[in-house]
Amino acid sequence: MNAGRPSSTRLRWWWVGGAALVLAGSLVAGVMVGPIRIPPIEILGTLINKAPFVTIDTAISDRTEAILWEIRMPRVVLAVLVGSMLSAAGAGYQGVFRNPLADPYLLGAGAGAGLGATIAIAYGPATSGWFIDPLPLAAFVGAIGGVALAYLLGYTVRSGRTAVTLILAGVAVAAFLTAIQTFLQQRQSETLREVYGWILGSLNTAGWEEVELVAPYVLVCLFAIFIGRRLLDVLAVGDTEAGTLGVRPGRIRLVIVVFATLGTAAVVSVSGLIGFVGIIVPHTVRLLTSSSYRVVVPLSILLGGAFLVLADIVARVAMTPAEIPIGVVTAMIGAPFFAVILRTSKAVVS
């Protein structure tokens, strides 16, 4: 009887297919583009040879293979992980706070990571003597610490534990941590350039080591946000109504924030503070498809990865041999692109 009727705003296969194609295209472009041109056939041959149980004869030199496998591939894979994570975390934050301007740095993750990185750069010991690099660790701990502080403050507010008090607590914590970070930066002005470069973000140092470091966090956190997407739709009607529909808004908010923050802290620790991705990608998905989080979250994961790979290509080649900080690129190409989408779309941003 209901044949042919739409069965809710589920993911349409052509949306997923289109987003997957964009991601695949960006991956190919990301691997191909660089100072040394590598033909697609050689890329394909190298990738096949890296797969288990398969070997084919290629004329590719060891040097080219090293460029491809040791430099470009890990960088592209890291860009996908970072872009997907920041986009999904942004969508998650926008859902639990019902705020279109929410991004993964809303509750102090960015300010905390910035402070941690500044301390590591300005006061940290020489890296060579350490078992692990203190910079990513300090940024990771700073990001988690910033959000934990905001939650602690927001949950001890006597007037009530609401999303708004939590956001205000986040604003206060971020302002406080940024003030300390700026103070330390001013005191150690010789490290200013390095700190500033880290804050603007880069995938320059990416190797398989960074990928292996963040991939487990990112995959677990993406999965958690992905399976919470239906509950984000329930939260859209506000805490009171969501509660009367049988869910616990505070608990959902905590779980999503924990995973979004953990994933964000992990990627920020290796890429720096890449801004704008967490806002632009989910909103672009909303404007082009649907505002349901059952659609926004999975498509943001696919397109967030693609967006950052493409942004990284621009960062690498626009001013060769120098690199532009990727945070600058995401804003410079992201903002006009988003403006066009905003002007041409018939959809409304909630």
Binding site: P6, V234, T244, L245, G246, V247, R248, S290, V348, S350
Partner: protein, 262 residues
């Protein structure tokens, strides 16, 4: 008669001030209890206690069993709630909005089943909303959104329906048609309805029982004929209220009193 819904000595306080004090009222299975009273009397607060949206002392009973300690999910299977100003998220399709009514039946990680989808279509059909399924819920008119809210209530399949000023923002004709709709659904499905209602004439015409609340206390409870009297309403609202019989229906109006120039 077993009361399908009963409030026993409900206390609610905000910052040490009582919003409700020892409120005890009830309504039988399949009945319609209208809660009337001036602004700030505590009507919405009383309704929010049933839905578990506010902390309270005392007890709420459904079919004689206290539901106070039940989880939000269990409660949502018994009670559906439409607040005074429901949130209609921009960009959300009517279908998806009504689908939210199935939330109490879905596990945390589960997706809706074929049966859930069928329940939503059934609710949309009952309220003649099938043509609206793909529309953005935030772009509908006041009367349409009320029907969408009722469709969500139907999809939730809870035996008790709580409506907080469901028709407050509607014009007279739309208000009447929504109230008729609620009455029809109540009769067809045996739902017990409790609603806060400002329009005393509508309360007299649609509710089976009335609880008159003032300053957080029940002033009177009974049939519309027992409660909606000039003396009781004059005491709670203003003395100029008149209760008039028009072709067998009760009409309640407030007369303008000319000030004495002397």
């Amino acid at each position: 008669m077993t009361a399908a819904l009963e409030f026993r000595e409900i206390d609610v306080s905000f910052g040490g001030t009582f919003a409700l004090h020892k409120v005890s009222v009830g309504v039988h299975e399949g009945g319609w209890l209208g809660v009337v009273g001036p602004n700030g009397a505590g009507k919405s607060t009383l309704l929010r206690t049933v839905a578990g949206a506010v902390r309270y002392g005392g007890s709420v009973l459904v079919d004689g069993e206290a539901i106070d300690g039940r989880s939000q999910r269990e409660r949502a299977r018994l009670v559906s709630y439409v607040p005074q100003r429901p949130v209609y998220p921009q960009g959300m399709a009517v279908f998806d909005y009504v689908l939210l009514g199935r939330t109490p039946y879905l596990g945390t990680l589960a997706s809706e089943s074929h049966e859930d989808i069928e329940d939503v279509w059934e609710a949309l059909e009952a309220l003649r909303l099938t043509d609206f399924a793909g529309r953005d819920v935030a772009t509908l008119s006041g009367g349409e959104t009320q029907r969408v809210s009722l469709a969500r209530v139907l999809a939730q399949r809870a035996p008790i329906v709580v409506l907080d000023e469901a028709t407050a923002s509607l014009d007279v004709a739309a208000q009447h048609s929504v109230l008729e709709l609620i009455d029809r659904l109540r009769a067809e499905r045996g739902m017990t309805v409790i609603s806060a209602i400002h329009d005393l004439t509508a309360a007299a015409q649609f509710c089976e029982r009335i609880a008159l609340i003032d300053d957080g206390r029940v002033v009177a409870e009974g049939t519309p004929g027992e409660v909606l009297t000039e003396s009781l309403l004059g005491e709670v609202f203003e003395p100029s209220i008149r209760v008039i019989d028009v072709d067998g229906s009760t009409v309640i109006v407030s007369l303008r009193v000319e000030e004495d120039p002397s």
